[in-house]
Structures are given as C-alpha cells and as structure tokens.
Amino acid sequence: MAAAKLMDFDKALELFEPVLGFEVHVELSTKTKMFSDAPNFFGGEPNTNITPVDLGLPGSLPVVNGEAVRYSISLGLALGCSIAPSSRFARKNYFYPDLAKNYQISQFDEPIAFGGSVDVELPDGRMFTVPIERAHMEEDAGKLTHVGGATGRIQGAEYSLVDYNRAGVPLVEIVTDIIYGAEADAPELAKAYVATIRDIVVALGISEARMERGNLRCDANISLRPRTAPGEPPAPLGTRTETKNVNSLRSVERAIRYEIQRQAQILADGGTITQETRHWHEDTGTTSAGRPKSDADDYRYFPEPDLLPVVPSAELIEELRAALPEPPAARRRRLKQEWGFTDLEFQDVQNAGLLVEVTSTVEAGAPPAAARKWWSGEISRIANARSAEPASLVSPADVAALVTLIDSGALNDRLARQVLEGVIDGEGTPQEVVDARGLAVVSDDGALIAAIDEALAAQPDVLAKIKDGKVQAAGAVIGAVMKAMRGQADAARVRELVLERAAAD
C-alpha cells in the first residue's frame, strides 16, 4: 500500500478547521464482570475467567454489577454530568465471533450520565473546555487472535482463536459532544483530553487506566471543514473518520495530526473522505482504512428485556458526589504549589505523563524534587531505551525507597542507578538489591583511610598541591579511592579525610 500523501500541518490549518470528537472506553476495575460473577481479570489461560453468562450460553441471564454502577455514577459526576434517575440497558445487535450473544448489552437512548464538561490543560497552560455528551455502561467483547496471517490481522489468517476472558468486562464509554475551536492545538488537545480522563479515573480509583493494556482506549473522530471568508456562514461539517487502536497518549496526538494532514491533502486534491474506521499503526505512524461506517449502521437497538432499569437513589448519588476527589486541574495547581515546582518543571512531569507516578512516589515518602528527578531522569531514559512506559518498569514505592536510601547516605547516585537497574530487572526491592549485590556505600573511616593511603602512595604530590591551595587536586585521590572501592566509597567522607590529612601534613 502506497503511503498516503500528507499536507503540511500548518498549511492544512490555513485551509481547514479541524472538528473533533472522542469516544474513550474505560475498563472498570470491579471485582467481578459487568453482568456475571466471573472474576474481572483479563489475562491468564484463555477462556478460564468465564461463566455461562460470559459465553452467552442458552438460558443464561445477565445481572447488573452494583459496583460497576457506583463507579459509573462517580465517573459521570467527575465529568460534570447529570445522573439519570432511571437509565436503561439496551441490546446492540450485530454478529461477530468475539461477541458471545451476538448482541452487546450497552446503553442507548437512556445513558446513566449525560451533559457534562471537562477542563483540559494544554501543554502551555491554557485551559480548554471539552463538552461531554454522555457516559454510558456496557460490556466488553472477547479477544480474537488471528493465526496464520503475516500481520496477525484477519486478512490472510488461516483461522482465529477467541478468548472470552475479556467478554463482560465492565466498560464506561465517554462520548464528547462535537469539539469546535481546537484549531492548531487539536493534536495536543486530544492527548491532553485523554490524559485528563486518565487522571480522573485514577484519582477515582475505578480503573487501572493503563493504555498499553487496553484499560483505557480512545477512538478519535476527526473531520475537516473548509474555512469561509469572514462574514460568510461556516461550511457544513466534513465527513469524519474514526481512528481506533490508539493505545498511548503520544499516539493520540500523532494520530490526530496524521489524519488532519491526510484528509487535508485528499480534500485539497479534490477528493472525498470516506466515512470509515481507521486503524492506527504505532510503528509507521500512519492510519489505514478499516471498515466503512455509515450513520445508517443498523444495530436494531431495543431495551434489554432481561434487565430492569437502573434507578440509583438520590442518597447514593449525593454520597458518591461528596466522595469525589479534587478535579484534576485544581489538583495540579495545588500539587505544583505544594511541591514547589516551577511551571516548566511541573509541565515536564505532566507532559511526560508522569504526574500519577510522581504523586504516588511523594505519597510514599520521597521529597518531590527527588521523585521528579528519578522519574523524568533515569527511569524515563531506561524506558526510552527499552521502548516501555516508565510506569511499567518500577513502582512508586520502590522509587521512594530508593530515594530514602540515598538520603540516608546508604547509597550515592551512582550506586542508586545500579540498584534501580536491579529493581527493574526483577531482583527485588531496592534494599534487597543493595544486599544481594553488596552495593552499600562504605563510610567506615578505617577502610577509607587504607584506600586513601594507597592512592596517596601512587600520587605523592597531591597533599602538597592541596596545601598550596589547589584544593581541586583532592579530586584525583577521591577518583582513585572510588575506583579502588568499585564506586562504593562515601565520596564526601573521602574528601574530608584527604583535606584533613593535608592540613595535618
């Protein structure tokens, strides 16, 4: 397939106004599934976390998970939505082998939450309000694995395997209203919006929210409309595409930028946009056509007769409202102040998607500056080298423990980096790695003095230089001692001892 022609981004923005819309699916971390008592645990041996309900066996019936309803209400409230006094499930009918009943139980005309908005902070600190149309509950489908094709995709595969462990995992789908006015910020806004949703669900404690694991999935709708002269009415909305499979914050931004450039080129060349789903390819940074999607797709929705309407009491809603965490924007302002970060430092942490990790590390006892230094420094470097998310490498508790060891003098930075590698490689907690690898700093004067004596014997003129005022000459001795002791010497103590020796000499 030939690569699509792309228009320069700035040129595209001159000619067209991007119009956005997002559907974000959040997997809820309830104990059991949406409609069955199977454990809500996706992974492990295929087709083990299943009941007759998840397999859609004849005769089986769904029962709504009350915990999922409470989570959904909390999320709706955090999105500024109204909570429906009565909402209803509906059947969305279509045949697909990962859909056990060949209908998905979802909510259609009566979602549990509707009409909200979310304040999203752009990288430069400006706020943008994203309107939320609705948030509704539904069940996830199973997972298909296509075997025998070159790409792992259905085209060319010899057969497909279905794992229903994920079937019935509770989802909330958050649907925005049409988003106008993002303009050239559209890619950054997309990323910041998804990051904000992630922050909200993490603060609520209702989802693991790991995009790389599919806990949080974004479908990005985008269309372009030509700009009209001032005073003229705006052009009608263009045809949209829906990009799926966007599973990192960075991809969200890239996918939107790509689609703007791709669509703009097609429109400028006099072509038309096909209404379709498109698949994002992380490796090539491109999208490819999926299935055509028309507004007339007929899912034959009708109210799910196996379930009663969801009628939360006003008391429950108020109880959940009272328990809501601070909104992300307010929380960020508070944290920035508490941590004493500069605007730039805070934005670095946030734009790197490390706010959750730094917060947790501070909560685990580390000073904010140290938490930031390790997450945006060494851990991000290793993550980059290994093409992994920093959060997947090490836990905030381990980072905090590492910082504590440094602050107590048990480790220096150099040793700490080795300890971090050990932790990342699964050798245990920082203390366990220190013990196992024997990496503790030596500050025992006897051992240090012996090493200093040896170093001075090799460099006899150093003490004289120090006495002449060339204090930096001590560095050569410190270096030699560190080398001899494989980096484990307490450098500050070595320096003190060398200077004392020179003074006494």
Binding site: P52, G56, G59, S60, L61, V63, N102, D298, Y301, F302
Partner: protein
C-alpha cells in the same frame, strides 16, 4: 409388576408422595413404573426427546438411601418429573426442539432444576416441544410431532405438547413447561390436564432457553390442580441470577388449593373471548362451568377488555423481535451444530450455513419478522406501537381487576385439531393463542384446568382463570374449588376417561395375577 405399575402411574403426585413418605413404595419403584410406562406408550405418543433410565434410577436410589438413613425429605422427594427441553439440564441433552442444539449437554443447571433436585424430585426425561417454543401444536419440533393421548391423530397443543402429553398419558405425574403466549395452558386445554403460567417473575427464568424474555415464564404441568400447586411451591421464589425475578414472599399455593372456595368470589367473563371463533362444544362446557361456579356462590359478571383486539398483533411483533435477538447466539462458534459450507468460507459463511440448516421454517419466519420489526425506520411503527398496545392491555386488566377478583375465558377457541391441519396456515395457528396471549403481555398469572369433553368430538375442553400479578394463590384457590365441584358432579376425574394407550399392559398384568 406391570399391574402394580399401571396403578402407580395413575396416582397424582400428591398421592404418590404420600406412598413414598410412608415407605409403602420406594422412589426406585415409582421411577421404574414411569419408565416402564414410557417404554410402553411413548413410541406412539412421542412426548419425550430424551430419557436416561439409569441416571433416573440412580437419582431415585439416592433418595431412597437418604430416606432409609432417616433424613427428613421434602414431601415430593422421589416423585418423577418430566422436563420440557427448553430448560437446561447438566446431565441430559437440551435442544429446545431444534436441530441447531442436537446433542448439546449444557455445563450448568437451570435454577428450577437446582430447586427440583434439592427437593428430591427425580427428573425422568426431556419433553418434546415446538422448536424454541414457537408453535401451538408441537409440529414445529425438529424431532417430529408429539401425539395427543386422547386421539393420536391430533395435536397435543404447543409449544409444550410433550410435557402435557407426558402427564396426560401417565408417563409422569408432573412436568415443567414454559409459557410465552400459552405454551403451558393451551396444551393443558387440549389434553385434559392442568397447567399454570405464574406471574412474570414468580419463577426464575435462569436456564430457560429464551424465546421472548419479557414474556417467557416457567410453570407447572400436572393432572390435578393440587399437583401443580405443590410443584409451584418448589420452583417459585426469588433468584438472584434472574434480574426480573420478584423478591416477594409467596404464600403456599398448595394451601390455597386446599382452602379454595368460590363463595362470594366475583368472576369476570371476558366478553372479547366468548363467542366469535370459538367452537360450540368449547363454549358449552365453559358455560356449564360458569353455572357450577354460580351455583356454588360465585358472582359471575361480564367484563370488557377492548384492547384485547390488538393483543395478538402486538404479541406477534414483540415476541419475534425479542426472539430474533435471543436466537442470534446460535451461530456455531461456541456450542451446538456447525455446518461448514462447501469449499470453506469466512466465519460469516459458516454462521449463515449453520443457521440455514439448523433452524426450522417457523424459527426462520419469526427471526425475519423480528429483525424487520426492530429495523431502523420501522422500529416506531412496529415494535414501538406494539409496546404501546402492551401498555393498553395492562391498563385494561388493571381496570377489570378493580371490579372482579378473577377473569375467566375458555383457554383456547377449539379442541385439539388434527395433526397437519394448520401447518400451512401460520395465521390460523397463531389464533390458537388468542385467549392465552393477553396474560403474557400483562405479566399476570393464568391457570387452565379441564371442564369436560366437547359434545361434537369428545375431546377435552379447558377453562382459563386469570388473576392480578402476584395473586397466583387466588388462581389455585378457584381452580382447586372448581375441580372438586366438577369431579363431584362427574363422579370421576376427567383424565380417567382418556383412552388406555397400552391395553396390553393391563392384560399382561391380569394374566400375571392369575
């Protein structure tokens, strides 16, 4: 042995239960007697799709063992029961009368099965039915029709013709049925037996293969009103696995039968179900029953439910709409039949080939109807309008019950018709359920019990009582009372007048006795 069998199988479940608890007979004897009866008559009746004699005997032997050990058992422990094949059983195949599920043994039990087993009843087999409970004659079974024990050339009703024929031919004292538009009550009517559709939500649907989820209800099938009540008391009650199941505390239905009295009871005759389209012999027996009720102190009044005129039309939109979605899961991917098209194909091709071969004509007809009724652009006109009619029917019933305690009608317009008489005319077939469908639309309980034989053909006629939702006990009271009055008047039960299907069995017994 055979003579003993012949008497045992004619006992009501209540009488059999007494002999079991007194130790006069064992559960194994009771089970063997019914298995022998099945062996003797079911070739002609074809009420059963599956029996598992060894399994049933083992179940019965375990009950006997527990009784011998001094355990206090449920009063019905050891009583055999036939189970409509729409109900999933983890030890017997469950097909819902369809080729698409041929040989499928579910990995789980329906809640009603769990309750039956806990009470110690002995499942003796799965009964025949119209495919996916779609029909009024059991002729739509993929495994051949069931025959009416009163006249083997005639239909046993449907969809639960197998369960009704099993109790009518003394193959089982009790059976489970399911009623979406009359599938328990209309077979009871044409076989001279008793059948009850409980209040929607009164009995768990978990494990009943769904036809139309908002209409389906499992209920008891038997030869006496008391037996149905005893079974109802076992299977009823809240089930957390069925969200539509009611959380009510239910009174004993058996007590309601024993205390039943019609003195002072106000009974409303549904005008719309009394006259046009009803067979003369059906109406004659119906009126006699009303006279008997009046003579025993009931007040009989006429009541009109004007929206019943639209009930069948609404039903034949709602039922197929829900069925089209409920039957989507039969796609060959996870269970049941799989048909690979010649030369292979995509999963869609396999699904299509499987459904083409696996579903019968009536199932396909209703899937197509329902799919159409739910389609964008038609939803409001069809499914939406039908739901409005449903609301009107519910209001009509509420208004009627404000003035009367129970409503009454013949259970169906005609006695059993000949096999094949209506198979080419779906509309004529659908009209069989004109009197039973309204209760399903309204979610209210209904009972059918026999009131005699029609003069013109000598075939059974049933009467149907309807009560407000949750007032199932009221139906058992009036049903039990009318049954006592009729049997007093006749001097025998109606079912005792059914032809003996295995006279040889009796002869053999007599010879053996000499």
């Amino acid at each position: 042995m055979a003579r003993h069998d012949h008497e045992l199988v004619r006992l009501s479940a209540a009488a059999l239960a007494e002999k079991l608890s007194s130790g006069e007979i064992s559960a194994v004897e009771a089970t063997d007697a019914h298995l022998d009866r099945i062996a003797a008559v079911d070739e002609e009746v074809h009420a059963f799709l599956h029996t598992a004699p060894e399994l049933s005997r083992r179940t019965a032997a375990a009950i006997d063992e527990r009784r011998r050990a001094g355990e206090v058992l449920h009063p019905l422990a050891g009583v055999p029961i036939a189970v409509k094949d729409v109900i999933v059983t983890n030890d017997m195949p469950t097909t819902s009368g369809s080729k698409i599920l041929e040989g499928w043994v579910p990995p789980y039990d329906a809640t009603v099965m769990t309750k039956l087993r806990a009470a110690g009843l002995v499942p003796i087999g799965k009964t025949n039915m119209d495919e996916f409970a779609m029909g009024s004659s059991t002729e739509h079974s993929a495994y051949g029709p069931t025959h009416n024990p009163w006249d083997l050339e005639r239909i046993p009703g449907g969809s639960g013709g197998g369960s009704a024929a099993a109790v009518a031919s003394f193959e089982a004292p009790l059976a489970l049925g399911s009623d979406t538009g009359g599938s328990i009550r209309q077979p009871a009517h044409v076989t001279g037996t008793v059948g009850v559709k409980p209040t929607y939500g009164g009995v768990s649907r978990y494990g009943a293969i769904a036809l139309a989820s908002s209409l389906d209800q499992i209920g008891p099938v038997s030869r006496t009103v008391l037996d149905s009540a005893l079974l109802h008391d076992v299977i009823g009650g809240h089930d957390p696995r069925d969200s539509t199941s009611l959380t009510d505390e239910w009174p004993s239905m058996a007590d309601a039968v024993r205390r039943g009295d019609v003195k002072g009871l106000k009974i409303g005759v549904i005008k719309e179900l009394d006259g046009d389209g009803f067979q003369a012999g059906v109406l004659e027996r119906f009126r006699e029953a009303l006279d008997l009720l009046a003579a025993n102190g009931a007040e009989i009044v006429d009541v009109s439910l004007p929206s019943l005129e639209y009930a069948i039309a609404a039903y034949y939109l709602i039922m197929p709409a829900e069925a089209s979605s409920n039957l989507a899961k039969f796609d060959s991917v996870r269970f049941g039949l799989r048909v690979n098209p010649p030369g292979g194909g995509t999963v869609e091709d396999v699904m299509a080939a499987t459904r083409e071969v696996g579903f019968g004509a009536e199932a396909k007809r209703r899937i197509i109807l329902g799919t159409y009724a739910l389609s964008a652009g038609y939803y409001d006109a069809y499914y939406g309008s039908a739901q409005k009619v449903r609301t009107l029917v519910q209001r009509d019933f509420a208004a009627a019950f404000a003035g009367v305690d129970v409503l009454v009608s013949p259970t169906a317009p005609t006695t059993a018709f000949k096999l094949g008489a209506n198979t080419g005319d779906p509309m004529a077939m659908y009209l069989n359920d004109i009197a039973t469908i309204p209760a399903n639309l309204a979610g209210i309980p209904g009972i059918s019990l026999p009131v005699g034989l029609a003069r013109e053909d000598g075939l059974p006629v049933g009467i149907q009582f309807l009560a407000p939702a949750r007032e199932d006990a009221r139906l058992y009271g009036v049903g039990g009372a009318l049954e006592r009055m009729l049997e007093q008047k006749w001097g025998h039960t109606l079912i005792s007048q059914a032809p003996d299907l295995a006279p040889g069995e009796m002869n053999a017994a007599q010879e053996g006795a000499v």
